[in-house]
Amino acid sequence: MMNNEKKPKEPLFHIAKRPAISWQKAWGIRVIAILLAFLFSGLVIMMLTKQNPISVYATMFDGCFRTEAKFWQLLQEMALLLCVSLAVTPAFKMHFWNIGAEGQVLIGGLATAACMIILGGKISNGLLLVVMIVASILAGAIWALIPAIFKARFNTNETLFTLMMNYVAIQLVSYFAMVWEKTKGAGTVGEISFGWLPRIGNNDYILNIIVVLILTVVLYIYLNKSKHGYELTVVGESENTARYIGINVNKVIIRTMLLSGALCGVAGLLIVGGKDHTINSSIAGGRGFTAIMVSWLAKFNPFYMIATALLLAFMQKGAGEISTVYGIDKAVSDIITGIILFFIIGCEFFINYELKFIKRHKEGE
């Protein structure tokens, strides 16, 4: 009947889900992945730039740690990135794909700048700061509230909606940059002299860092210890369960997005009032998107995010350094960043799954 001269070959291996893995083993896999990433990107660097990869890596470290100022800049960058990451985390934990952090930060920054320009010099500096804080938080919250309401009412797709809101924010900022331009036709606002966030001691950076670290602790408690945090987790895991136990799902969506937007507003405040002291459409600098990666890599744990934000800030600073030192295109440093992230994220697969090789059958019989 069936002639099996052409017997199909047995597969060599198959993929199986791992049982619970010990944390030592999991971290072992991660360390191996990072080493492999550096090895592989070293090869790429050699092929593309003919430079010695070791010295390229050394330059990356130099870019972040050579001088005290560079080190503080690294920490500030980490803090700002962390702030936006904290902002997107409640939304993502609720499975609300808020990719509009970029726009929410911009609008928060715009509101800050507006206060600084319009009220600067007219009211006392202390009062101005209070107004800036309130305005930036409100602006960010409103920018997040709009897609949240549409999601709750009409079940619109929040990913597209928040993405579109980014472009609106960019155009608004560009418009106001023209309105407030310093010299006619320059199109830039230039440095605003009022409403700078205070310095602590003699250090320009430390205030931002402290504020963000406090927010980290607060958000950790909010997500893990408060009833609100519990509700948003349940909504994220299963809306059916949420309705079953009597959670008002729409209310939670709106409340959580208000929080998410408000934190983005704070990030805008810190950037404009505490770092740049000006406004233009690139002040968010892609942090709204990088933050998503920071948050996911840390599995939505605010404390782990300190580490992942530091890693990504380091990659960014280091990459910038090698492109100036070696005069190579910035794209090369982006490639390295990409390779390393690919390995870090890819290794999660090997933490969750294993390759099993199939034992050979005895021939004949």
Partner: protein, 515 residues
């Protein structure tokens, strides 16, 4: 018994992570024979057959078809060896007719000719006695008809060895009888039929031999004629089990819920529940029987405040003082705020009753997290409750902080039922509470429910196994297409009678099964 061997398995093993699904299983089945594979949920029956039909590949072991060793890597390979499997979940295109679904995906290199195909399908249906309208579209079909299409599909592809995975789970007793007639015809035609099941009386009714699996291991193969329900159960469970449910006569019946003219319409205007009227009493178990998807879910969710009922519907709840409370139009939150102790074990355990990614403690908290005046969570009481349930219901878990999705089906259900009973309910609604559970866990759940009844709780029990409904419930209400077709005393109920009510229609034009 000199019929030739059709299929033989030797030393088949398969593991998923640390879970051993099959270990060193041997099995043989002959031409012209019906073999039942019997085992509890999770004993590896389906996994074993999935390896024969090419869904999984065994880690170890050999498969022989007609005495020759074969390697089956895909369902296509399986079909080349004339092996076909009918899965529990049907894979049909809704907008196509039966014939179109049957011939779909066949590439024999010839120009497709629907007339010729129809003739061949017709020949198969006549030969084995299938009763089906081949021009009917799938979305117009009942579950039983869809299953018939799946079986014909496999036969059309030339299968000589047919594997059916729990084929009777979705059928009424009458439909089951029809299926068995077809299967006997196939046996007479020298086909090999393997039927996966955990229902003992079906094994005894249809099979020639039975292979019993327990926890992934081969236990024994026996002649059906020499087996009894008791001997088969012992083989499955590995110990003596009493298959009796203690049913005390209901005492002190009190009206607890009066449901009047309950109508539910979906957003397309289709009626999901039509003029439902009944009363549930405290101290009684009211069973609800019916083909799945007949409105059971909507009925329970209407009471729980999860389903919007139409205007004019009424669900009256009597509180301990005898006051009437109207539940229609109230949200689950409003119902809870009124202090109404209403517990609900929904059909979808991990999608509605529990959150799979949360641990047992946080799942206990689902019902109680609102307690306390502060904005912060109190995990102390939920932790104590979790420990208590793990202890008293013998939940097998590494700890109370294990995510519930990592627990087995039976333990998940114990966590859910335990939590709902801990609320000291006055109304307890359970939907398919033992689906996927092993025998011991099932009986533990039945007894928990019986105990609730003895404490004066009004229990509403939606079930699928008619034998269990008859044994457990004081009254059985039958629902079909959203209508109540009858209420029968549990003690006097006959399976056949319930089966007829399950397909009976009060409106002639919507008859599902007009015989």
């Amino acid at each position: 018994m000199s019929k030739p061997l059709a299929l033989e398995l030797k030393g088949i093993s398969k593991t998923f992570g640390s879970i051993v699904a099959n270990k060193d299983v041997d099995l043989e089945v002959r031409r012209g024979e019906i073999l039942a594979i019997l085992g509890e949920n999770g004993s590896g029956k389906t996994t074993l057959m999935n390896m024969v039909s090419g869904i999984y590949f065994p880690d170890e072991g050999q498969i022989f078809v007609d005495g020759k060793e074969v390697v089956i890597r895909s369902p296509k390979d399986a079909f080349d060896y004339k092996i076909g499997m009918i899965h529990q979940h049907f894979k049909l295109v809704d907008v196509f007719t039966a014939t179109e679904n049957i011939v779909l995906g066949i590439n024999d290199g010839k120009k497709f000719n629907i007339k010729e195909a129809q003739a061949r399908v017709k020949e198969i249906t006549d030969r084995y006695g299938f009763q089906i309208d081949l021009d009917k579209k799938i979305y117009e079909m009942s579950v039983s008809e869809k299953q018939t299409v799946e079986i014909i599909k496999v036969l059309y592809r030339g299968a000589d060895i047919l594997i059916l995975d729990e084929p009777t789970a979705v059928l009424t007793p009458q439909e089951t009888q029809k299926l068995f007639v077809v299967l006997r015809n196939m046996r007479a035609d020298n086909k090999t039929v393997i039927i996966i099941t955990h229902k003992l009386h079906e094994v005894l009714a249809i099979s020639d031999r039975v292979t019993i699996l327990r926890k992934g291991e081969f236990i024994e193969t026996v002649q059906t004629s020499e087996a009894t329900e008791q001997s088969l159960t012992e083989g499955m469970v590995g110990q003596k089990v009493s298959l009796d449910i203690e049913r005390k006569d209901p005492e002190n019946l009190q009206e607890r819920l009066i449901i009047k003219d309950l109508n539910v319409t979906d957003f397309e205007g289709k009626a999901l529940l039509k003029d439902v009227n009944f009363t549930a009493y405290g101290g009684e178990i009211l069973g609800i029987a019916g083909i799945s998807g007949s409105g059971q879910k909507e009925l329970l969710e209407s009471v729980a405040g999860l389903q919007k009922a139409d205007k004019g519907s009424s669900i009256i709840y009597f509180d301990p003082e005898g006051n009437e409370v109207q539940l229609v139009g109230k949200t689950p939150k409003a119902i809870r705020n009124l202090g109404i102790a209403l517990s609900f074990v929904p059909e979808d355990r991990l999608g509605m009753g529990l959150v799979g990614n949360m641990d047992i403690i946080d799942n206990m908290m689902l019902r109680s997290y609102k307690k306390g005046k502060t904005e912060f969570l109190d995990r102390k009481q939920p932790r104590e409750l979790a420990e208590e349930i793990i202890d008293s219901l013998e939940v097998v878990t590494p700890s109370a902080t294990t995510p519930v999705r990592r627990l087995s089906g039976g333990n998940v259900q114990k966590v859910l039922v335990g939590r709902e009973i801990s609320l000291n309910p006055r109304v307890l609604m359970v939907a398919y509470p033992v689906r996927g559970l092993d025998i011991n866990s099932s009986y533990m759940i039945y007894n928990l429910i019986s105990k609730q009844k003895e404490q004066g709780v009004a229990v509403i029990f939606v079930g699928e196994d008619l034998d269990v409904l008859i044994e457990l419930c004081d009254r059985i209400m039958v629902i079909n297409s959203g209508e109540i077709t009858g209420i029968v005393e549990g003690k006097k109920a006959q399976k056949e009678e319930l089966g007829i009510l399950m397909t009976k229609s009060t409106h002639g034009e919507e008859a599902v099964d007009d015989e």
